[in-house]
């Protein structure tokens, strides 16, 4: 027969694994209370994978109205599969997560700039563009590219920010 403290620890593990199972059904409600991030979601590429590569570009404008060309914010090349080392995967995942959050505000023009992911990207693009000549305003976009199917680098704009003072 197990000791009381052993029963306690065993029950704790049982409750934890039951919560992990439950969170798979309802990530939103239970995930909200997952302050310690111990309830992982296992929906890897399911039920449907994201069909394109999401990238972020930014450009600047001067007070006179001269607009610069688009610059990609993250200089990572395409996926380099490796068993040991793949730091850019974290950046790609971050860009995807930021887009997922921003996408929910896509049609809410009045409040989209209050979304935290929006502010995160704006903060980063402003800092990157600050040093440019005559850069008074900044704008960013999220784009979708069809990977190896279309290597002509044409892309679709998924989300466009307002112009902001740097």
């Amino acid at each position: 027969m197990a000791e009381p403290h052993e029963m306690f620890l065993g029950s704790l593990m049982l409750i934890w694994v039951v919560l992990i199972a439950l969170v798979q059904f309802d990530r939103v409600s239970l995930g909200r209370y997952d302050y310690f991030r111990i309830l992982p979601g296992f929906r890897f590429f399911a039920p449907r994978p994201i069909a394109y590569d999401v990238k972020i570009f930014a450009r600047t404008a001067s007070c006179e109205g001269d607009v610069s060309t688009w610059k990609e914010l993250f200089d990572y090349n395409q996926n380099r599969g490796n068993l040991i080392w793949n730091p850019h995967q974290k950046l790609r995942k971050m860009v995807l997560d930021l887009y997922r959050e921003i996408a929910t505000f896509r049609d809410a023009d009045e409040i989209k700039h209050m979304c935290l992911s929006y502010l995160t990207v704006l903060n980063h693009s402003s800092a990157l563009m600050k040093g440019r000549k005559q850069a008074n305003f900044v704008q960013f976009i999220f784009t979708a590219e069809r990977g190896f199917q279309d290597e002509s680098n044409t892309c679709e704009i998924l989300f466009q920010s307002n112009w902001h003072t740097i």
Binding site: M7, L9, F36, R43, F45, N79, G81, G147
Partner: protein, 278 residues
């Protein structure tokens, strides 16, 4: 004692493999450290605004010290030191257990910094280390058994959840969704994409095998004992391919850590449960 009955050793193996996952993930974060600056994409200034508690008051000040740039590197470095400590103290279960708990605390603190940009492998690995740490410290057969069951169920859920969702998507059965993943520059591979475009049957069969393997994995634990090994070997090859093709490097180590508990659970079900039914 038969090796499969050595619960402490199996838990230690799980902790060590998760340690490799966490080590890689931490070193990758250190490599991307410039992105953790106040104007970076992983900036704490932006992330802290998600809660009123983390941007104001005493907790806010504490979080700024812990998570701000460049202080955050101390937390990452502490985790690296702890993982090396775990590798060096692997012969002492109690010491290894304590270090696992310390890695667990640093992992929770790192994961709490921001919910965006993290992946499932990091969470699986930190859960594994915490549970293995508790069980190694307590040195009770019952708690160690519970920990092994926890880890095996965690892996089974990680396989079953996405595949059971895919079963109801016709686009997975036609190979269309697998093609979408391989087509992307983020998770795909140009050569494999071209190969798959020319050989649609290969794509359909591969897609079917992936769904079948993942959705049947939980049931493999109930098969007569040695048969689970076939699933584990297939799973290992599956993750190896995912690393090289899709760049999901840390997932290989995180899932591999759960294989020893799966082996134990399958053996336990056969030994204890089925024999009691006879």
């Amino acid at each position: 004692m038969h090796w499969i009955d050595n619960r402490g050793a199996l838990l230690l193996l799980a902790a060590l493999l998760s340690g490799v996952c966490v080590l890689i993930s931490t070193l990758e974060s250190i490599r991307l450290l410039s992105h953790f600056r106040d104007d970076g994409i992983f900036s704490w200034v932006a992330a802290s605004a998600r809660s009123k508690h983390t941007c104001n008051g005493t907790l806010g000040k504490f979080c700024r010290v812990l998570y701000g740039y460049p202080n955050f590197i101390f937390l990452l470095s502490l985790r690296v030191v702890c993982i090396f400590g775990l590798f060096l103290n692997a012969s002492n279960y109690f010491a290894a257990g304590l270090i696992c708990l310390l890695i667990g605390v640093t992992s929770i603190l790192i994961n709490m910094r921001g919910r965006l940009g993290g992946n499932g492998a990091d969470q699986i690995a930190s859960n594994t280390i915490i549970v293995a740490g508790i069980a190694l410290c307590i040195d009770s057969k019952f708690v160690q058994g519970c920990a092994l069951v926890f880890l095996a169920i965690q892996v089974a859920l990680a396989y079953a959840t996405p595949s059971w969702l895919r079963v109801f998507q016709s686009s997975w059965w036609t190979g269309e969704d697998l093609m979408l993943i391989i087509r992307s520059q983020s998770y795909g591979n140009r050569h494999l994409w071209r190969f798959m475009v020319e050989r649609r049957k290969f794509t359909i069969i591969t897609s079917f095998i992936v769904i079948a393997f993942e959705s049947l994995f939980p049931f493999s634990l109930f098969l007569p004992f040695p048969y689970v090994i076939i699933f584990l070997i297939f799973g290992f090859l599956f993750h190896l391919m995912n690393s090289f093709i899709m760049g999901l490097n840390t997932f290989t180590w995180a899932f591999l850590a759960g294989y020893a508990p799966c082996l134990w659970l399958s053996h336990w079900i056969n030994q204890e449960f089925y024999s009691s039914l006879r």
